[in-house]
């Protein structure tokens, strides 16, 4: 019964708790050379408040260290594209620690120092575009700690549908052999472990204040309870336990869609007004006859295996169905290498199309995701004169060499258009959005097989319709607008920009914002009066987030690297948000762990996407620990202590009775005396 034995924490049971077995348990995982086992459980509570086009989310996670040792852990999680994390709070018992934003290396140093000193600390870092991690250290044995992270995001609007997304899963990103450092979690402790099996307990509630009469509110992948009327709703997951594994998507639309023309949200911060403007283009477009060269690119890498690949196949089939006999086309499948159907685009004859359907039908999913070379092939050469080249690629976005792919698109896109279809849950939508906006196209996300037909027909309308090009925006005062270059707009898309105005909110009541552009060579104008705005918290940080991302996307020849770095860092520090250059760090003031108590290292599992099978252990072979406590000691001790009380009570009664009789005999004597005197 030595102390070391009681403290033993890391344990690969009977040399057979294989790593696969350890992975399918939810929660924090203790990791060491001797294997891993779950030691810290966790529950997640997500609260989202939507005001108009802005959503504020707080994610509250409770970690309990069930072990007898001090624990530390790391939790890797995805956030929606464009999320700006600005809040970290850690609650230990009654104490509350607030996080502050510091330069990334600085924050890590503060965290490491706290770790060495035995203080409880937390650190939120951003890794890839939408991949974040929370590290915690010095969680006391048996302790409960509650970590809250807050972030803002904007709501998407398309084809009359407002969509709020919350990813609950990440796909492991495919890495090729060399030099893809950008996506790896730099100098990180144990790599994230994906947990399939029992997902972490998740509950979610959404408070929706749309700002207009709602026609319908719907959760696409989760059963929810919806309450409320008019413009407000309260939404809650109906089955909190089964939430993880599928991205959460909430969709709503306006009752009077036709009266919806735009919206302006304003927040004042640092003495300046920040604005989010949404304008809907006039609806009177007609599809024009357009001869197209359609390049369909389908991802058949291993990560697409299963349902995702079937969906991609179906999406490509639907695109083939809509090809006109005047059009030209080609199909390219890719994994480790690109596999084109034809050497170059061919006429859409019946025979060629049949060959394409057969080709699609015979594909299987396997291997890596080398998009770069494939994109090169898709964009190679010039389309025939009079044709518009449209490249449609269906993928889960878990690709290698993201930066190279984006650079190649910048270099070679020319007049072609690039449309991305993101398939399945856990899609890397940040990358797809970047790729398609550089390719002057759009991104369509398909999460569910029953979405395919609807989403694809919308995409195909976009492919056939004229776009709104050369968009310009005039603000009544000087303004810094992001994105810098307004992308072309397709059918069903609103114009959405973020701006920081030169002046306080009180001064922007006059004038109006004007957006101009061309549709099919005709001039189009939209206008929004400045005084019609709603106050909305979150706009300023959304602007800062867009600026940090936008500056990173500026081509290298247009901006000095050092200047770019400084500008992004300054913006992140001024607006206090987590970015690739800044992190949130929170440190408890009092050190609590003594030198002697060893710290155990923990990595936390994320949830694996619902339709992917990462689990190959046999749960039937696992035996729960038998109940090995008969409870006789407890009963015996209880019996003895009650017996002691009984004996004490009896003794007390005896003692009282003796006392009383003595007092009575004492009291009798003086009376007797008195009597004698009388």
């Amino acid at each position: 019964m030595t102390f070391t034995r009681a403290c033993f924490l890391i344990f690969a049971f009977a040399a057979a708790a294989s790593s696969a077995d350890a992975q399918h348990r939810a929660g924090l995982q203790l990791v060491s050379a001797s294997g891993s086992t779950t030691a810290v459980t966790q529950s997640t509570e997500i609260d989202i408040r939507v005001t108009g086009l802005l959503a504020r989310t707080t994610v509250t996670q409770r970690f309990t260290n069930h072990t007898q040792g001090w624990a530390e852990g790391r939790y890797v999680f995805p956030l929606p594209d464009g999320a700006s994390v600005d809040e970290l709070r850690i609650k230990i018992g009654e104490r509350l620690i607030e996080g502050e934003v510091r330069e990334k290396a600085d924050a890590r140093q503060v965290f490491e120092q706290a770790r060495e000193q035995g203080r409880t600390a937390g650190l939120v870092e951003q890794h890839a575009d939408n991949l974040f991690s929370t590290s915690l250290t010095n969680i006391a044995p048996g302790e409960d700690i509650v970590v809250t992270i807050g972030f803002g995001q904007t709501v998407e609007y398309r084809y009359g549908r407002f969509t709020l997304r919350f990813p609950t899963t990440t796909l492991p990103r495919y890495e090729n052999g060399a030099g893809a450092e950008s996506q790896t979690l730099a100098n990180s402790p144990p790599a994230p472990v994906y947990s399939s099996g029992a997902a972490p307990r998740l509950s979610m509630s959404v408070e929706l204040a749309a700002g207009f009469e709602l026609a319908g509110v719907q959760s696409l992948h989760h059963a929810v309870d919806i309450q409320g009327r008019g413009s407000d709703r309260a939404i809650e997951l109906a089955e909190p336990e089964r939430g993880a594994g599928k991205d959460f998507e909430l969709v709503w639309s306006a009752r009077d869609e036709d009266r919806l023309q735009g919206a302006l949200f304003v927040e004042q911060m640092r003495g300046q007004a920040h604005a989010l403007l949404m304008l809907l283009p006039p609806r009177d477009f007609k599809p024009v006859a357009l001869r197209r060269e359609l390049i369909l690119v389908i991802d058949r890498s291993g990560s697409m295996q299963g349902e995702a690949f079937e969906q991609a196949r179906e999406a490509v089939r639907l695109a083939l169905d809509r090809i006109d006999h005047d059009d030209r086309f080609n199909v390219i499948a890719f994994s480790n290498t690109a596999l084109p159907l034809f050497d170059g685009p061919v006429a859409a004859t019946r025979a060629n199309l049949d060959q394409a359907y057969r080709f699609i039908g015979e594909l299987t999913a396997d291997g890596g995701t080398e998009l770069d070379a494939t994109m090169g092939m898709a964009m190679a050469g010039l389309p025939d004169p009079g044709y518009l080249r449209q490249i449609v690629f269906a993928t889960d976005g878990a690709v290698a060499n993201e930066p190279q792919v984006l650079e190649r698109i910048d270099r070679e896109i020319d007049d072609s258009r690039l449309f991305a279809i993101g398939i399945g849950h856990g899609v890397n939508d940040a990358f797809l959005n970047r790729a398609s906006s550089r390719g002057h196209g759009t991104t369509t996300l398909i999460k569910d097989p029953r979405d395919i037909a609807g989403r694809m027909s919308e995409l195909l309308v976009q492919l056939e319709s004229p776009v709104l090009e050369d968009l310009q925006i005039d603000w009544p005062v000087a303004a810094e607008t992001w994105p810098e270059r307004i992308p072309d707009l397709y059918a069903g898309q609103p114009l959405m920009v973020l701006a920081r105005l030169d002046g306080p909110a009180s001064e922007i009541d006059r004038g109006s914002v004007r957006a101009t552009g061309f549709r099919d060579l005709r001039f189009v104008e939209m206008e929004w009066p400045m005084r019609d705005y709603f106050s909305a918290p979150g706009v300023a940080r959304a602007w800062a987030q867009a600026r940090i991302e936008g500056l990173a996307d500026r081509p290298a020849d247009r901006m000095d690297a050092q200047l770019r770095h400084d500008e992004r860092l300054l913006t992140a520090l001024e607006y206090r948000i987590v970015s690739p250059l800044t992190s949130l760090v929170a440190v408890d003031r009092t050190p609590r762990r003594t030198e002697a108590a060893k710290l155990e290292r923990v990595a936390v599992a994320g949830a694996a996407p619902g339709d992917r099978n990462l689990d190959n252990s046999d749960p039937a072979a696992l035996h729960a620990m038998p109940a090995t406590d008969a409870g006789s000691l407890e009963a015996g001790l209880r019996g003895l202590s009650i017996l002691t009380i009984v004996l004490l009570m009896i003794f007390n009664r005896r003692f009282n009775r003796l006392e009383r009789s003595r007092r009575e005999s004492n009291a009798d004597e003086p009376i007797a005396d008195h009597g004698e005197h009388a």
């Binding site: 090995t628 406590d629 409870g631 000691l633 009650i642």
Partner: protein
């Protein structure tokens, strides 16, 4: 008057609890004692499956566990379900030879905390075959997060009881797990 009633009720409760203690401990002792004769009978019969130790018994001795260093001798019953464990340590064997023995910390496995690395353990099967084992490791694990892998490749002996051994409260999540490896080829 009321105090007398309270005392009477408390006394009753105390005796109830003590009776439970006695019942559990007694069951453990009597079970061992009763099984000893059926085990002996089976040994005499040349390793025939042991008879039911008492009429209507659902448990029967499956093996005998010796710890020479601690001078201990326990008859082990089939199965690790709670009702079986009242009579003796329970045993279960995985398909690849992983032998699991579990018992209550307050009865048959009170000694488990005293087992140390290197201690010898003997396990006698009904046919009289005795195998020698040596304690390799003992650890405390959390039963909420740790599972026993019955498919683990054997021969491997794992003994489990509740931890801490002398805790007052019953039903805690921790378990003491002692694993042992064979030290010899089979001897008879």
């Amino acid at each position: 008057m009321t105090s007398r009633l309270v005392i009477a009720l408390l006394a009753l409760a105390a005796f109830g609890q003590l009776a439970e203690f006695g019942w559990i401990q007694g069951k453990g002792l009597v079970g061992q004692w009763l099984m000893a004769s059926s085990w002996a009978a089976s040994a005499e019969a040349g390793g025939r499956a042991p008879e039911a130790p008492w009429p209507g018994a659902r448990t029967r001795p499956a093996a005998r566990l010796f710890v020479p260093d601690l001078k201990l001798d326990r008859l082990v019953v089939e199965g690790v379900a709670t009702p079986n464990l009242a009579w003796g340590p329970g045993i279960e064997t995985g398909p690849n030879g992983h032998v699991l023995i579990a018992a209550h910390r307050d009865t048959h496995f009170r000694f488990l905390g005293d087992l140390e690395k290197g201690h010898r353990i003997q396990l006698e099967w009904p046919a009289g075959v005795i195998r020698n084992w040596r304690v390799q490791e003992s650890r405390v694990v959390d039963s909420r997060t740790t599972r026993l892998d019955m498919n683990a490749p054997g021969p491997l002996l794992t003994m489990v009881t509740c931890w801490p051994i002398d805790a007052i409260e019953a039903g805690g999540p921790l378990r003491l797990v002692v694993s042992a490896v064979p030290t010899d080829e089979e001897t008879s």
